[in-house]
């Protein structure tokens, strides 16, 4: 716009050197006028919608405001990451339980679907006919059926027909610390003793050590060409240092073992079947989509890059990791951003199988108990928008870095 203005100006200046400033026909004035008009209209519309809603709620005698957040909620939920007691916990706490549950399932599904998606995407391009076809079948079956159907499938046809509580499968092979049944997955959970912080400190120190070790190894390889067995050394460092500290401080860690008491397993840590079904469904669904993005990204890299990398003596798997994938990332990241956002938004389908995410818990149960529909829907929308914009913001920064690599 500015370019166009200055061009016209300089052009007309040459033809008519003494042009008068005409307020009504000046392009800059007009542009400012239209922008003010647009801003004014949008502002007026927003003001109208807000006051109209408030007015309508008042006319209908419906309560408004966020005072309900500090009122106590009387209902309970089966899956919560923070302390909550019905009758003591507030609606605000209910909101946070829902938010945390949504974030937990989304984060796990994002990590798992990204790993699986890259894996399947690469397999799609495998020269092994059978492997490539299997990957193709996975992608096409998952990608071409509705997600809600898949969620219900995993819940009803897989996790619900697992053995009942009394016939639980012992996944730990007789050690009785990890059980699977149709009420979920029950695992022993660690109970740290007094001196366990020392083990954690040692572990953190080992991680920092590994970081510096790999930097040093890289530098040395760049300078001298000699390679250092970084992987083996890192594993040894990570296992031995905290392990030694743990043993020296007298093994200060107990396990809370799940045991069958009455109707259910008590103790330990448990995940309900709705969580497992939703996690598997979200992971598979988005992995299938990501696999296609990964495949497209890899195919977008010039085959000459592959040949060139092979010709300097790199092995095929190193070529993929060091040459192809980094260049493919610039085509993969943009669709990946929207996929990650979709994971978060699609997790709201949890409601179909009874997982207590923010929509099920807050916009459904709490809304029905308290009845503040406008406020609650607004809060839930604000939450999803915040998360989606954060994901897209962070990945955009990463995307810029990836794009810089391009030549």
């Amino acid at each position: 716009m500015i370019m166009a203005v200055s061009e016209t100006d300089s052009a007309s200046a040459r033809v008519r050197p003494k042009e008068r400033f005409d307020f009504f026909h000046d392009e800059r004035v007009r542009s400012i006028f239209y922008q003010l008009l647009t801003a004014g209209t949008v502002g007026w519309l927003a003001w109208y919608l807000i006051t109209n809603t408030a007015h309508n709620l008042e006319v209908r005698g419906m309560n408004t405001g966020f005072g309900f957040l500090t009122a106590t909620a009387g209902f309970d939920t089966d899956f919560k990451l923070i302390e909550y007691e019905p009758g003591i916990g507030t609606y605000r706490r209910i909101f946070f339980i829902g938010v945390l549950n949504t974030l937990l399932i989304s984060a796990l599904a994002i990590v798992a679907s990204t790993i699986l998606g890259f894996f399947v995407g690469i397999l799609r391009l495998s020269s092994n006919w059978l492997v490539a076809r299997l990957a193709l079948a996975f992608v096409e079956i998952i990608r071409n059926t509705p997600l809600l159907m898949q969620i219900i499938f995993w819940y009803v046809a897989v996790f619900s027909i697992l053995p009942r509580v009394k016939n639980s499968i012992d996944l730990s092979g007789g050690a009785e610390v990890l059980f699977l049944n149709n009420r979920g997955l029950y695992s022993a959970s660690p109970v740290p003793g007094d001196l366990f912080w020392m083990t954690i400190t040692a572990f953190v120190a080992a991680v920092i050590g590994v970081f510096f070790l790999s930097r040093w190894a890289h530098k040395r390889q760049d300078l001298t060409g000699r390679r250092f067995p970084t992987f083996t050394a890192s594993v040894a460092l990570l296992a031995l240092v905290p392990g030694m500290v743990y043993l020296v401080t007298g093994s200060p860690l107990d396990w809370d073992i799940p045991t069958l008491q009455g109707f259910n397993f008590k103790g330990g840590f448990s995940l309900p079947p709705s969580f497992l079904a939703l996690l598997v469904a979200l992971t598979f669904y988005h992995a299938a989509h990501l696999a296609e993005a990964v495949r497209a990204g890899i195919l977008s890299v010039d085959p000459g890059q592959n040949d060139a990398a092979l010709s300097i003596g790199l092995k095929q798997n190193r070529v993929l990791v060091l040459v192809i994938i980094p260049q493919a990332m610039r085509a993969i990241v943009p669709p990946m951003i929207s996929l990650w956002m979709n994971v978060v938004k699609n997790s709201s389908l949890a409601i179909a199988i009874g997982y207590s995410d923010v929509v099920a818990l807050f916009m459904q149960t709490a809304l029905n108990q308290a009845g503040y529909a406008v406020e609650m829907v607004g809060m839930t929308m604000a939450f999803y928008m915040t998360i989606s914009l954060s994901i897209s913001g962070i990945l955009n920064i990463y995307n810029k870095r990836v794009q810089l690599v391009e030549r």
Binding site: F75, N182, S274, I351, A352
Partner: protein, 346 residues
């Protein structure tokens, strides 16, 4: 299921945002309904008992009968009616918004709802109460045996709250598993994913009837809550409130006085009891206070029958009924020890 209710709730909020400020204008609901030519009445998603669809796609059920009764009271015909099926999540907002004229949808009358949602409950047409259903072979005989149990519950109702209250009051540490979809909840329960399921007893009975082997399940004796179900109307229109309330009372009073769908014509012409004559419009001017025609009560009974007939047909042992016994229960007439009681027609 989920998509529809989510959509509906967003629609309800949107309607609140965009609706013209004049929506709740001065015209009375009765005038609006008369001018429109038919009544808009909200019921729930179809299921045996309160509201269900027959093979022709027509609604029937005890709560549907209330809608039909109000339509008959106004228009003399039960067919001048538009039934809207709404989820429990959006029902109150949709009513407050003016999308319908009344709600006849197994809504429990509670103080909070009565005072804070912009609506008024009229007269109780079914006394329900929350209970538990368990598989017979579980050996459970009392709700107090459910210590540490997992219980399936439907979301968006008072049942979740009652379950938590009952668990706290009796220190039972019950873990609720909350569902939006009744079919998935039933599936989970039948697969043993829950030790019990809880709902209003009428809902449990209707559910049990739909199971492959109904006799393998029992409804526990405890009733853990009071669930007076009553039609509701928007706040602020006293005349409309009276019309819906007294429509329910006509049904109850008709049964008390032995007036049925079959004999109502004869009763109007030949009854000697002054109270029957006043109700049916054979004498007096009771209808004037409601703004309805003289034969409003006659039309109601002619269209849907009396309370006992409706109960027998849909809740009791009738062909379409769900087999909840009435004798001696709260839903029996006050003259037989129940709670169904109509104020006098005079």
């Amino acid at each position: 299921m989920k998509i529809t209710t989510l959509f509906a709730s967003v629609t309800a909020v949107a309607a609140m945002t965009f609706a013209g400020a004049t929506a709740a204008s001065a015209a009375s609901t009765l005038e609006i309904v008369k001018e429109r030519g038919f009544l808009r009445c909200q019921v729930g998603t179809p299921g045996p008992g309160f509201y269900n669809l027959d093979s022709n796609g027509d609604w029937y059920g005890s709560d549907v009968s209330i809608c039909q009764a109000v339509a008959a009271a106004i228009f003399g015909s039960k067919d001048k009616l538009e039934i809207q099926s709404v989820s429990s999540q959006v029902r109150f907002t949709a009513l407050a918004n003016g999308e319908s004229d009344m709600l006849s949808r197994t809504a429990t009358w509670t103080l909070l709802r009565d005072t804070q949602l912009g609506l008024d409950f009229t007269a109780v047409n079914f006394y329900d109460g929350q209970g538990f259903m368990v598989p017979k072979d579980s050996g459970i005989t009392s709700a107090l045996d459910l210590k540490g149990a997992t219980v399936c519950v439907l979301t968006g109702t008072t049942t979740e709250l009652n379950l938590a209250d009952f668990s706290r009051a009796n220190n039972l540490d019950i873990s609720p598993v909350t569902f939006e979809d009744m079919n998935i909840r039933n599936d989970t329960y039948l697969q043993g994913g829950c030790d019990a399921q809880t709902n209003d007893k009428s809902g449990l009975a209707s559910n049990k009837a739909s199971f492959p082997n109904p006799d393998d399940h029992i409804i526990l004796p405890e009733t853990i809550s009071k669930e007076p179900l009553a039609p509701a109307v928007r706040q602020g229109d006293a005349q409309w409130f009276d019309i819906v309330k007294w429509t329910v009372y006509v049904l109850i009073n008709a049964e008390e006085n032995g007036i049925t769908q079959a004999n109502v014509e004869d009763m109007r012409a030949n009854a000697t009891s002054p109270s029957v004559r006043r109700m049916l419009g054979a004498e007096g001017n009771l209808h004037e206070g409601l703004g309805l025609s003289k034969d409003w009560a006659y039309n109601i009974i002619k269209a849907v029958g009396n309370y006992g007939e409706i109960y027998e047909a849909y809740m009791g042992g009738g062909e379409l009924g769900i087999g909840i016994g009435r004798a001696g229960s709260s839903n029996d007439l006050w003259t037989r020890g129940g709670l169904m009681y109509s104020p006098p027609f005079r």
